[in-house]
Amino acid sequence: MKALNISPSPHIRDDLTTQKIMLLVIASLAPAAIAGVIHFGLRALLLMVFCMVISVACEGLCRILMKREQTIRDGSAALTGLLLAMNLPVSLPLWEAALGCFIAIVAVKQLFGGLGQNFANPAIAARIILMLSLTSDMTHWTAPRTAADAVSSATPLVSGTASLQSLFWGNTAGCLGETCAAALIFGGMFLIFMGIVSPVTPFSFIGTVAVCTLIYSGGDLQTMFYQLFAGGLMLGAFFMATDYVTTPVTAWGKLIFGIGCGLLTFLIRMFGNYPEGVSFSILLMNILTPYIDRFTMTKPFGAVGKAGGRT
């Protein structure tokens, strides 16, 4: 008989892995990605595949240069690439998209130590940097092929004229993955149903925007739904604000995070200089996450006196 192995307990593990989680999130983005291709043509597909490839390449090269364990197989870089592409206008020049991937993977993620160590959502941070530095290309919106024959157009948050129906089905101008609310809600519900993301963040985020808009507009449901389906709210709430690494770990923390995101989005949209505030609000709340975590530590069962507490 050969020698026995010894391992500490537990001796069994759940079969959910980081890689599976990332692949499930990518899969749940597929409906919105397909909607993007339908509305904006094959260029959308090109941009998404391009961003995924460049992101994975950046991640791989970084790990080699930093002499760290290779991590491209965990799927997180591919997911970042896809999310970034879905946050870009379909007409963006490829080199600018590549720059975005570089910023996301190298500057925001790997320089802080890679997966799990970054303080901000890489795709959001990259989108904001591109937005601020290449504003004209980043706000050059193409009207969907399925809409009227206009070549360029304003986003619904600027024009304020799109029909709720076209907002729901994504038949409007905007970032290539953010326009189809139906596909994003479907993908988001899939993630919640699979237990991959907590429903607390997206629901508190969207709920806060809904309530604030409803009060601000004096109870106008039309305006409320317009604000929910227009812009990047669905993409942001279901897929960016639920990023594990850059959001709080406890349910209470997630609630505070979601409400904070919703409030900031509402304030920027209504009172700010930018028509859209989803990415800024998520980035700001990302920065607050360590503080939220510190104040929402769990109270252990059976603990006496001050438990958890502050460091």
Partner: protein
């Protein structure tokens, strides 16, 4: 009342309808002197001495100890040092059976008129908690405060194991008599039997048997691991929270494993001390999974041979369940009083440990609502103050955090090392 968190595990209770069968007498038995929590015993027999079944072969003057008895009749063939699973070394008595299984002539049915005599009789039984920790029964049943509830732990929440399940199905009346005996002597007004709902047969049998007794209630529990952890069981049945550093008895509760109750009652009717152990033999290397009663001290190898274990495929041997059980160093290790299962597992694919992605699964799986990721980071920094703040000592090493971690991080293992680290720090500070 909020339920405590946990994880849903595959039950794998394939042996729940397999009755206990006795294992043929082994070639030899090895009886370590430390099969219980507390002071190890000292052998009271000499080499080549003849012993009979139930004869005391090891005892201790310390109150916190449990006597060891010969589980077979035969000759003492060795007195050796034995390394236990936890690394400590104790004396062990090896007996070669003569095949007669002659019971010890000195055994009498114990009688008692009061609590002190009851406990003294128990002290001689060698009885320990059969669920895993092995607390001597006469210590457990000697609480310093008033007890409101006797809880019978029949949750058996670990996968595979059905030893308690089988005991309940086969000896329901013995169990109930034992419960009444304890309630009478310790003057406990109420008893709950906590059973996980994945044991419908055992539940039905016990419910029918306890129907006429209003003081004994069956408490069905959802099959969420670790339902059988003492503090979890107490909270879910009585709503009482056992505070850190306190014992269940301080909160008016005694928890006893159901097999220990069955043993206790049999001891008080036959006088035979703890010499047999019922256990589950399962795992993917086992050809003939079974429930067995074996003499304490039987080498695990003989149990495995009986169960047609594939020794070529065998990679790890686990004493207990797959969540909290310990790996045996080799197949010659003896069956101890606390061993409720032997699992023979084949090699599994090694998974890489990757970076924590802060998914929070460990936090929402922890029954104690601890923060395993934070504990792991604090241990990596060797930050004893932070570990204390995060209530490391509440961790019962149930393994839920490690089980759910998608990055395959050894969180429970880290906590167990952290506990050792904190203890060493405290000793160094003295």
């Amino acid at each position: 009342m909020r339920r405590l968190h946990g994880v849903r595990l595959p039950h794998a209770k394939q042996t729940s309808d397999m009755a206990f069968v006795p294992l043929p007498l082994p070639q030899k038995v090895v009886l370590p002197m430390a099969m219980h929590m507390g002071v190890p015993c000292t052998p009271t027999v000499k080499l080549k001495q003849q012993v009979t079944v139930g004869e005391c072969i090891g005892t201790s003057d310390a109150p916190f100890s449990a006597d060891i008895h010969a589980s077979v009749s035969g000759t003492v063939t060795a007195l050796t040092d034995y390394r236990m699973m936890n690394g400590t070394v104790c004396k062990a008595v090896e007996i070669t059976p003569d095949g007669e299984q002659t019971p010890c002539a000195d055994l009498t049915v114990p009688t008692y008129t009061n609590r002190t005599e009851f406990l003294a009789a128990l002290r001689r039984s060698g009885g320990v908690g059969m669920g895993g920790a092995g607390l001597p029964t006469h210590i457990k049943l000697d609480p310093k405060s008033k007890i409101d509830y006797l809880l019978i732990n029949a949750a058996e929440c670990e996968p595979y194991i059905t030893a308690d399940d089988r005991t309940m199905q086969e000896k329901p009346l013995t169990i109930l008599k034992g419960i009444r005996r304890i309630m009478e002597v310790l003057e406990i007004p109420e008893c709950f039997i906590g059973v996980e709902e994945n044991k419908p047969d055992a539940m039905k049998i016990l419910r029918d048997a306890a129907e006429k007794d209003p003081q004994i209630t069956l408490a069905p529990l959802p099959p969420i691991y670790p339902q059988g952890a003492e503090k979890v069981l107490i909270y879910h049945i009585t709503g009482r929270v056992v505070e850190e550093g306190k014992l269940p008895a301080d909160h008016g509760v005694i928890v006893m494993n159901v097999s220990s109750i069955a043993f206790l009652e049999e001891y008080f009717t036959t006088g035979m001390p703890m010499v047999m152990r019922g256990l589950t033999v399962d795992g993917d290397c086992i050809g003939k999974r079974c429930s067995l009663t074996v003499p304490v001290g039987t080498p695990v190898r003989e149990v495995l041979q009986y169960a047609e274990c594939d020794f070529e495929k065998l990679d790890r041997l686990i004493s207990g369940g797959p969540m909290m059980g310990q790996c045996l160093p080799d197949a010659d290790y003896p069956v101890t009083k606390t061993m409720n299962a032997i699992l023979a597992l084949s090699a599994k694919q090694q998974r890489r440990t990757t970076a924590c992605i802060r998914c929070g699964r460990c936090i929402s799986a922890c029954p104690h609502r601890l923060m395993p990721t934070e504990l792991e980071k604090a241990y990596q920094r060797r930050d004893a103050a932070r570990l204390d703040e995060l209530k490391l000592q509440l961790c019962m090493l149930c393994g839920c955090c490690s089980y759910v971690c998608p990055a395959n991080r050894p969180l429970a293992e880290s906590n167990s090392l952290a506990k050792l680290f904190v203890r060493q720090q405290k000793e160094a500070a003295k």
